[in-house]
């Protein structure tokens, strides 16, 4: 049978999370969409019960038209060699930070992912020990990875660009100087 291993894992998880929606994306890749309130329980079971010991990454997607952020948690099982992507959606705040709960007490590396998402997207993870700035230490602008942040506009306003045809050079050329 195709995807026998993946389907048995899904069956095991579906009994405890009937509201979650599981799909097999391809071989050894499982996607699960669930309500945001169930994510912490899911993460606890992933680590303690189902032996998904490795949290590969937490990523964030800005669905600006839906007014939502999508957080994707990537869990890896070393024995089964299966990656589970747990996707949840949280409301997107136009001003200030969106909030979600941390899982850094389960996985230490989650601290870094959460700090990164906080400064890049403006999602604050409540309950984390350390939400200081990580890479953009001197940043005061809006979170730069949001879809409504226009990189070019910000750069043109903020930085000084070299002037290639300044007025003094044009005046000099008009007066006949500078031409050999």
């Amino acid at each position: 049978m195709e995807y026998a291993k993946e389907n048995s894992i899904i069956e095991m998880m579906q009994t405890e999370f009937p509201e979650a929606h599981f799909t097999v994306k391809k071989e050894r890749r499982i996607e699960v969409k669930m309500p945001s309130g169930r994510l912490y329980d899911f993460a606890v079971r992933m680590q303690k019960k189902w032996n998904f010991l490795h949290l590969s990454a937490i990523s964030c997607v800005d669905w600006i038209d839906d007014g939502e952020f999508e957080l994707v948690y990537h869990f890896w099982n070393y024995d089964e060699k299966v990656l589970v992507m747990a996707k949840i959606r949280i409301p997107r705040e136009e001003e200030g930070d969106s909030h979600f709960e941390t899982i850094s007490n389960l996985w230490q590396p989650a601290k870094f992912f959460e700090r990164d998402i906080h400064e890049m997207f403006g999602v604050y993870f409540d309950g984390s020990e350390d939400m200081e700035r990580f890479i953009l230490t001197d940043w005061t602008g809006p979170p730069p990875m949001r879809k409504d942040f226009i990189t070019r506009e910000f750069a043109l306003n903020f930085y000084h660009y070299r002037e290639y045809e300044p007025q003094w050079l044009k005046d000099m050329m008009a007066a006949g100087e500078g031409n050999e």
Binding site: D138, W139, F149, A155, L156, R162
Partner: protein, 190 residues
């Protein structure tokens, strides 16, 4: 150029003659340009034949080679490093990123022209410049030192307010520096 800068005593001329052949380059690499330095240092192009050696500490170095783009976070470290170097000191901007931002011209996180923050002695255009170009610019630098024209480091002491203003604009507030530039300027009689 005003007269005070161009007039040199005999001792300064002798010092320039001697120091132009013993330049130490700070081994501090930013961006992707660092990959061109190993061939420049080692047997193929061998910059030591011009008396240029890599040095690991800013206090003992003469040349600060900025190899490629500078993010705002790195720029802060570069400014602190530059201020710790002993005068005379020469900055070489390497690659188009230091000139006008290069391929990162619309990035929110990288600075666009290096000479707004620290005075630059020579630029090397290109993405990437080959080791021949680096050697060429070092020879230009040596010739400038010999002629007594490599005085851009004095510009930092003369126009410190301009550089400081640009730095504070980019870092969104004052930065903590370890050197008193105004006091140093009085020491150098600039």
């Amino acid at each position: 150029m005003d007269e005070k800068l161009t007039q040199r005593s005999v001792w300064e001329k002798i010092a320039a003659k001697l120091s132009k052949r013993s330049l130490w380059m700070l081994h501090y690499c930013t961006g992707c340009g660092a990959i061109e330095l190993p061939p420049t240092m080692t047997a193929r192009f061998d910059m030591e034949r011009f008396g240029i050696n890599p040095m690991v500490t800013p206090r003992q170095a003469d040349i600060l080679l900025i190899t490629g783009y500078l993010s705002v976070k790195t720029l802060k470290r570069v400014v602190l490093t530059y201020e710790q170097m002993q005068a005379p000191k020469y900055v070489v901007g390497f690659g188009s990123c230091t000139i006008n931002g290069g391929m990162y011209w619309n990035s929110y996180a990288t600075m666009k022209s290096l000479d707004r923050y620290i005075p630059v002695e020579t630029y090397i255009a290109g993405c990437m410049p080959r080791p021949e170009a680096i050697i060429h610019s070092f020879n230009e630098l040596i010739a400038k030192i010999d002629r007594g024209e490599a005085n851009s480091w004095k510009d930092y002491y003369k126009n410190y307010d301009f550089y400081r203003k640009n730095q504070e604009h980019t870092f969104e507030g004052p930065i903590e520096t370890y050197n008193d530039i105004k006091a140093d300027a009085a020491l150098f009689r600039i």
